[in-house]
Symmetry: C2
Subunit: 232 residues, 2 copies
DNA sequence: CGTGAATGTCTACGGCGTAGACCAATGTGT
DNA sequence: ACACATTGGTCTACGCCGTAGACATTCACG
């Protein structure tokens, strides 16, 4: 029963995942290659395979580590609004702290931690009065909202600079649009630059969601079969 | 001025992008490799480089083709609510029709078409009464909401089957959770299976958003500095 | 001490994106 | 009609990637 004994070179699954997460956080997901990782750990690429089934498994473990930091607010929380706020704020904090959360965009949301998050959200939505079908649909939207900022941290910076950073995609965008044709966009670009980190953006997101859910719960036919009305 | 003359082997940028898009739609983004693409077009891999700068550029062109299908509702639309509904419904339709929209999750949102979409959304938000700063933050959330379904089409199917499809990540999830511990999740799983395609899920998303925006616009201090109140 | 399991290494394979030299077809100017 | 430059496709090769399989070492325990 040799378990946690240090042997050979003290490589452990934990060390591997930690290193991978660090690499992903500071170099982007695509910076995580088994060979580079092995280099950082001063080990042969194949050594990693003693602690991780394959790269996909490694990425799953990284996701797990991230999502385990999410605080699933207890079910006893006073109102569903408060539970939702607390849960999502925690989720948002994790997303904000780790660029590696971009992993959640490409990987099935089915690890134990992910399931726990989903379960907590579904429970909250249930107590808000939504049925199972609606809750599932809402769940998808909510994760999208939370992950929104993760989708592109760099996008806006690139857009406002008229795309100098990457010489590759620079041409693709300078075809038909000049600065003047996008008044709102260019005026908004300034706002983005001094973006202090998005703390209030996150609050805005949550309140948008809570407000929307309240409205939806109060007027259930809205989300169901909408009146023929397309105006007013 | 030889322009649109057929020479050699009639490979064109359009044919390349079309084939790539088709491949991405039916095999996922990672199924798009220049070599495979070349095979499908009965051409050498390097031939593609005569029509596309590099892979990144190709992906940009694919995104462009997708986003050009989005109907930017005209600014004269009666209410901002209606314009938002129309614009987002169209966006959602594109997402639903093309699995390749997963590209939007990994690529800067800065192609001309993407900028046009963003501009239209910002204009709509402006007419709803939000200032530039809020609009930018909301924009991020909204695209997240719309792209939510794209984030994982396969996730739920995998989750409900207790993860049989992929032998790789199957283990990662069967550690601490058994079916009984996730009541809402497992009951919801059924709902997901007969998911007719998400038309009403999309409506739900839009109404959630509109309702949330209305609430936010009516009570602006909510999204700003929230009252100390954390209860009720 | 001996043995079997655990851990790291080496070598090698096929796939990827892509640089660079080459070459055939094409349309142009005289 | 003929040399010519341009266009579009091919070939070869490089360095990266994930990973299979055989091997070597080191440890835990009898």
């Amino acid at each position: 029963m040799a378990r946690d004994v240090k042997v050979h070179r003290g490589l452990t699954t934990e060390r591997v995942v930690d290193a991978a997460l660090r690499a992903a956080d500071e170099g982007g997901i695509e910076a995580v290659s088994l060979r580079r990782l092995a280099g950082a750990l001063e080990v042969t690429p194949m050594a990693i395979y003693r602690h991780v089934r394959n790269k996909s498994h490694l990425l799953d473990l990284m996701v797990e580590l991230l999502l385990d930091q999410v605080d699933l607010a207890p079910a006893e929380t006073a109102t569903w609004q408060d539970r939702l706020r607390r849960l999502l704020a925690s989720f948002q904090a994790v997303v904000a702290a780790h660029p590696a959360t971009a992993l959640l965009l490409s990987r099935p949301f089915v690890s134990p931690a992910a399931l726990r998050v989903s379960e907590a959200l579904l429970a909250t939505l249930h107590s808000a009065g939504f049925d199972a079908g609606q809750s599932v649909r809402l769940l998808q939207v909510i994760t999208g909202m939370v992950l929104g900022p993760a989708i592109n941290r760099a996008t806006w910076a690139a857009a406002s600079r008229n795309l100098p950073p990457d010489a590759d995609r620079q041409q693709a965008s300078t075809e038909g649009l000049s600065a003047g044709e996008l008044p709102y966009l260019s005026s908004a670009a300034d706002q983005v630059m001094d973006w202090s980190g998005g703390a209030d953006a996150n609050r805005l997101t949550i309140e948008l969601l809570v407000g929307g859910l309240e409205a939806l719960a109060a007027e259930p036919n809205r989300g169901g079969v909408p009146r023929t009305a397309s105006r007013e």
